[in-house]
Symmetry: C2
Subunit: 378 residues, 2 copies
């Protein structure tokens, strides 16, 4: 199997991740925060350490790191947590359905409205597009770290700075990028970071992060038992308890913690460099072919993450992906849960074939992929 | 380690569960429903089979089984999914904070109101208490299958029948009980069943179920990418896609599926009989001690699940639990995220020590536990 679908979930996971999950069934198989006996304490301690590792990784405060079931949950919690009746949001035209669908629903129910700002190759223009979309009732900008389809990277820090001038929150969707792109909460000056655990951070599927700054205290999306203040009918006020109701995914968190350690050891910049090299090779090899459309040129001046979308002119993206699958290659064809981005790039009808490498992808994988694509494109 | 905290999470998990989770990192480590290649298809197939197994177990329809991150999420999704502005709910006085805290929050924000119906040893009286609490705007009754603190089992089918006479939905919280108490959706005539995956069903922590009848279509709690209808800014209308946004917890679901198989092989009735035998033994051994308060007599005519709460008169429940922990015994002391139930039983100040066995608990474990409690109670 030649795996080029790390944008969906990373594969393989490091051994340390798989081992941590397996060991958790013995070491941490007790409900943390809900028992005073040894294994429950060990479980709570592991979760504290994982929280602390994630906080360190994102340069956030430990108690502000919330473990979730995935980035979709995190984004819903962030959006609905800051939305008030009559709120307005500004999002980029690259956002995923996990941003657009919650907003669209809130809009339809009359609770909020939202505007879409265009990301262009000119950073100043992009920032201006966001600012021009601000209204008096704008509560938050939501912007992706990197397009999950095209790898385009909006100038997030600049957008955040402008948003803050108007008292508007900046919510970062780091699903695509965290683990190979630097995500420093304080440098970016993000108010909320939403992140998947199972992509660039190499954690298990079913894990995610919601990271809050000290300046924000969103409403809760779910409430329930937290093992704290149990006598009270009200949700605790303090983080992370306030945002973590119910039994945590102990096994998943144990794995995610090892995933973050793995990235820290390999180093983000090395991973990025490696993935960029793979993508550049593929790009350069496919560029001469007239029958292949490559989206988002790697060297057109727009910052871009190692995500490459392409199409073979005469073929639907799903068909190309299926032909590659016959050769044991895993890539995703079709739409990538991001209709806005596809509309922007004119691929809403045909979709794209997406190539997303990881730290584990090697040159031979890329060579095999390129040869298969060339054969199909002939 | 002598583990008597299966009410928090079951331990140990069957080998098949641990193996399935571990194997999932190789076999199913691709995002289901988001790729047409082999491992993504295998992943999707595994999830379909898990869904089908759960549907069969609860006598529900496959497409109406929704995988969630836990029972707290399921209950929030159920409650907020059927709540409209001005809705009224009726709950039992045994409900967990995962029911009470969401309702309390909705009440405080002016969106809904709720009443608490008393569960008594007289089933007819209990049913009457529920019916008396019904109002014209009551949308749903939420009732536990079994109290997580005292094991008391309200007459759920009778309550459901009365609720339906008034056009009121019946939502069952089966967190405590599913796996050893029979939960047949059609026999109970429940509209929604919320269930943990990591307790009686022996799945990993971080798994849960939301099971819907064909007569109910709640609003969504979160929206996002589903891998389906990707061109649309709106959440799909059909179940389970409508209720499962974002990458599923593939590893957890693989484990839960094996957990359900394990229960089906061991058989619910055998597990119940085994656990009842353990609890009866402990109860009978401790009953003669004046210094021990046993809650909910096993033979007082009220249907009861194998959950035993007790206190040593001179000691706080946390202290007793800590002393037992020193002997390697895992029990939970304090409040059990169920303040209503503690208030009902007069233990809101002191909490209780809770004993919850499982299929894996043997007589020697119970003997050791009993001897330790007797020593502490002296």
């Amino acid at each position: 199997m030649i795996y080029f679908d790390n944008g969906a979930t990373s594969y393989p996971k490091p051994f340390s991740v798989v081992n941590a999950v397996q060991r958790s069934f013995g070491n941490f198989c007790a409900n943390p925060g809900r028992g005073g006996y040894k294994s429950a304490m060990k479980s709570a301690e592991m979760i504290y350490n994982a929280r602390s590792a994630a906080a360190n990784f994102f340069n956030a405060d430990t108690e502000n790191v919330v473990f979730t079931s995935g980035c979709t949950y995190s984004l819903n919690a962030a959006i609905k947590g800051v939305c008030r009746l009559g709120s307005h949001f500004v999002i980029s035209d690259l956002e995923h359905n996990s941003v657009v669908r919650p907003l669209e629903k809130l809009k339809k129910s009359g609770r909020c409205d939202y505007s879409v700002a265009k990301v262009t190759p000119d950073e100043s223009e992009t920032v201006r597009n966001f600012v021009n979309a601000f209204r008096k009732n704008t509560v938050a900008v939501i912007c992706t770290l990197s397009s999950n389809v095209f790898g385009i990277m909006p100038p997030i820090s600049k957008i955040a700075r402008e948003a803050h001038k108007y008292g508007i929150l900046f919510i970062l969707d780091a699903a695509q990028g965290a683990g190979y792109l630097p995500v420093d909460m304080k440098k970016i000056d993000a108010d909320i970071i939403c992140c998947a655990g199972h992509k660039g951070l190499f954690g298990p599927m079913g894990t995610g992060l919601l990271i809050l700054s000290n300046d924000v205290n969103p409403d809760t999306l779910i409430e329930g038992g937290t093992g704290s203040n149990s006598e009270s009918l009200n949700q605790p006020e303090y983080s992370p308890d306030r945002f973590e109701s119910g039994t945590p995914n102990v096994h998943g968190i144990a794995g995610l913690s090892e995933g973050i350690k793995f990235v820290e050891t390999a180093k983000c910049e090395n991973i990025l460099q490696h993935e960029n090299k793979i993508i550049k090779y593929i790009f350069d090899e496919l560029k001469p072919y007239n029958s292949i459309v490559l989206y988002t040129d790697f060297y057109d001046g727009v910052p871009k993450s190692p995500v490459l979308s392409f199409n073979i002119k005469s073929k639907k993206s799903e068909k190309t992906a299926a032909l590659l699958a016959e050769n044991g290659i895993c890539v995703r064809g079709g739409l990538h849960c991001a209709p806005l981005a596809h509309k922007k790039m004119g691929t809403l009808d045909i979709g794209t074939v997406r190539i997303t490498p990881s730290w584990f992808t090697d040159e031979k994988d890329a060579e095999f992929l390129v040869n298969c694509i060339k054969k199909i494109a002939k």
